[in-house]
């Protein structure tokens, strides 16, 4: 299996506060990777570095073998232009904690706008694939609704469909169920489970240990900007080696 994401010593600081202090991580194609850890550990920041929503300060971050946000030439890193980075981002889907659906557009328009404006897909083609995706997340009846008229779980399923509409090769999930009422978490996890089964490469920042245990191929535990432990779910969640991870698991399980 080829490598989808590769991070080597990725660091990042906000001002003088270090958030990532050398993160190493490898994700192969078709794998589901869960990032767990206490809040403020840098999970979300790391995820956002992968599609260059945040710039990392140092270290190497490659998606499909290509450096994110930079071009290596003659031993120097050249920052890429806005346009070039945009092209790369279109191949990476992202799902946010707060859904971030476009409030002024209907559900259907939320799914077609990226295809049409970024990838230049014709409207009828975009609408067709949008309807297929909405059916896949079980919301084909809601295409004329505005996001504010949907429940949190429905909004998050639309957000996943919106990301999928771009036909990404990698999906990033930033705590996709943290803003949901407990009874709505299941429907979103179901969609993510199906997505994983279909062979999508996924990196998921989550507090849902059940999901991680069941779906993930590997789990990384981040604490204070460092990967403390990593391995299969059985190893990391079932047999924690460090005191910190034991502490963390005792709080979230």
């Amino acid at each position: 299996m080829s490598t989808m994401v590769e991070a080597r010593g990725v660091t990042k600081a906000y001002g003088h506060v270090p958030v990532l202090r050398g993160v190493d991580l490898v994700v192969s194609q078709g794998e589901v990777t869960c990032l767990i850890g206490p809040s403020g550990s840098g999970k979300s920041t790391f995820l956002r570095c992968i599609n260059h929503l945040e710039k990392h300060d140092a270290g190497e971050l490659r998606v499909e073998g290509e450096l994110v946000g930079y071009r290596l030439q003659n031993g120097k890193l050249y920052e890429q232009s806005d346009k070039q980075i945009c092209g790369e981002r279109a191949n990476i889907g992202m799902v946010f904690q707060r859904f971030n659906l476009f409030q002024h557009l209907t559900v259907l328009d939320n799914l077609t706008i990226g295809q049409m404006k970024v990838k230049g897909v014709k409207e009828d083609v975009a609408v067709k694939s949008a309807r297929e995706l909405l059916a896949r997340v079980g919301l084909d009846a809601k295409e004329r609704n505005y996001p504010a008229q949907l429940s949190g779980g429905q909004q998050q399923r639309v957000a996943i469909a919106r990301a999928l509409a771009m036909e990404p090769r990698l999906m990033l999930f930033d705590e996709p169920t943290s803003a949901l009422d407990p009874e709505l978490v299941g429907e979103v996890l179901d969609v993510m489970r199906d997505l994983a089964k279909s062979g999508m490469t996924m990196i998921v920042v989550t507090h849902e240990m059940g999901f991680a245990r069941e779906v993930a191929n590997s789990v990384y535990f981040l604490d204070q900007g460092i990967i403390e432990e990593s391995g299969t779910p059985a190893e990391v969640l079932g047999n924690p080696r460090t005191e910190r991870l034991r502490n963390f698991l005792s709080k979230v399980l």
Partner: protein, 332 residues
């Protein structure tokens, strides 16, 4: 309602004495306003009209409308006034277009992380908000004292594409420039507030889909900012409609200029002021109605159900009234 239901327990609502007193005062005030608007006064003291009927001479003062409604009616639709109304609307439209386009550009500059873009935007707003628009109109009207020619070319090099005398700045052009540039300063603040009001998550989501900064602004941020931008912009349009009257002082024959010209000839000052007021009121009323529907359009998605239009509300009221009437018929 049947008799035994009534006899159960009677509910006595609280009496709002203050409200009744207030309502009475307001009613008297309304009566006074209506009375003075439609009362008649003697044309001139001591000037009487006498009629002799059956050998008896009866004299009474000549009465005219206090507000000279007949003169108002005479000039309300005169061609000079109508031409003024059209010019007022044209000035408002052109100045607002300049104000909105330039205002949005300045707002985006102001929000740029590049200081070289943000600082001039701040200075622009500082200058145009800090000087009276009336004074600015005179500045543009007299720009010829400062520059003899307008030239389009390459700065600091002797390359000229186009050049013309500043005499082309007539009153109308000075008014368009003055009102438009001044409006841009106010519109930029309104647009900036609107852009800031859009959740940052919207920008992140657009970015993660691969949209460029320009696309994000155009397709995602500005349409949502509109909901916040439209109501104060409506106020600005209405305000601009009235502010165009200042242009009368730089030889622009818009509505107020037109009525001034008329009263300079016939001295019917008050009637013509009333003519102008009626037209301004009519135009601002139409604009307020338009504003309601535009606001409703841009609120889509932000509210679960859009506010009812007055027509819808009237229909609903009638329906409930009808429903109540039917119900009483059924029970009685």
């Amino acid at each position: 309602m049947s008799k035994d239901q009534q006899s159960e327990v009677e509910v006595v609502p609280v009496r709002h004495v203050g409200q009744w007193v207030g309502a009475a005062v307001v009613l008297v005030a309304i009566a006074m306003v209506v009375h003075t608007l439609f009362s008649k006064v003697p044309l001139q003291s001591g000037l009487n009209k006498c009629v002799t009927t059956a050998g008896k001479r009866v004299c009474h003062p000549i009465l005219i409308w206090r507000f000279q409604w007949n003169t108002v009616g005479q000039y309300l639709f005169s061609s000079e006034v109508l031409r003024g109304v059209i010019l007022t609307l044209e000035l408002t439209a052109v100045a607002m277009v300049i104000g909105i386009v330039l205002g949005v550009i300045i707002a985006v500059m102001r929000l740029s992380s590049n200081r070289l873009l943000a600082a001039p935007a701040w200075v622009y707003t500082w200058f145009f908000r800090g000087t009276p628009v009336y004074v600015q109109l005179f500045f543009w009207f007299n720009i010829g004292l400062l520059y003899k020619r307008f030239t389009l070319g390459v700065p600091f090099l002797h390359v000229t594409f186009f050049s013309t005398s500043t005499n082309v700045i007539t009153g109308v052009w000075a008014a368009i420039l003055g009102l438009g540039l001044n409006e841009a300063a106010y519109m930029s603040e309104i647009a900036r507030a609107g852009i800031i009001s859009v959740d940052e998550g919207q920008t992140e989501a657009a970015t993660s889909l691969g949209m460029t900064k320009g696309q994000t602004l155009r397709l995602v941020v500005l349409p949502q900012a509109m909901r916040v931008i439209i109501p104060p912009t409506g106020n600005e349009v209405i305000s601009m409609l009235k502010t165009t009257s200042l242009a009368a002082s730089i030889a622009v024959i818009e509505l107020f200029g037109a009525v001034q010209n008329i009263w300079a000839n016939n001295f019917k000052t008050l009637s013509l002021i009333v003519v102008a007021c009626l037209w301004y009121l009519f135009m601002t009323t139409v604009m307020s109605i338009g504003q309601f529907y535009i606001e409703r359009h841009f609120a889509r998605g932000a509210l679960r159900s859009p506010p009812m239009t007055p027509i819808q509300r009237l229909r609903k009221d009638l329906r409930t009234l009808g429903g109540r009437a039917r119900n009483t018929r059924v029970t009685s």
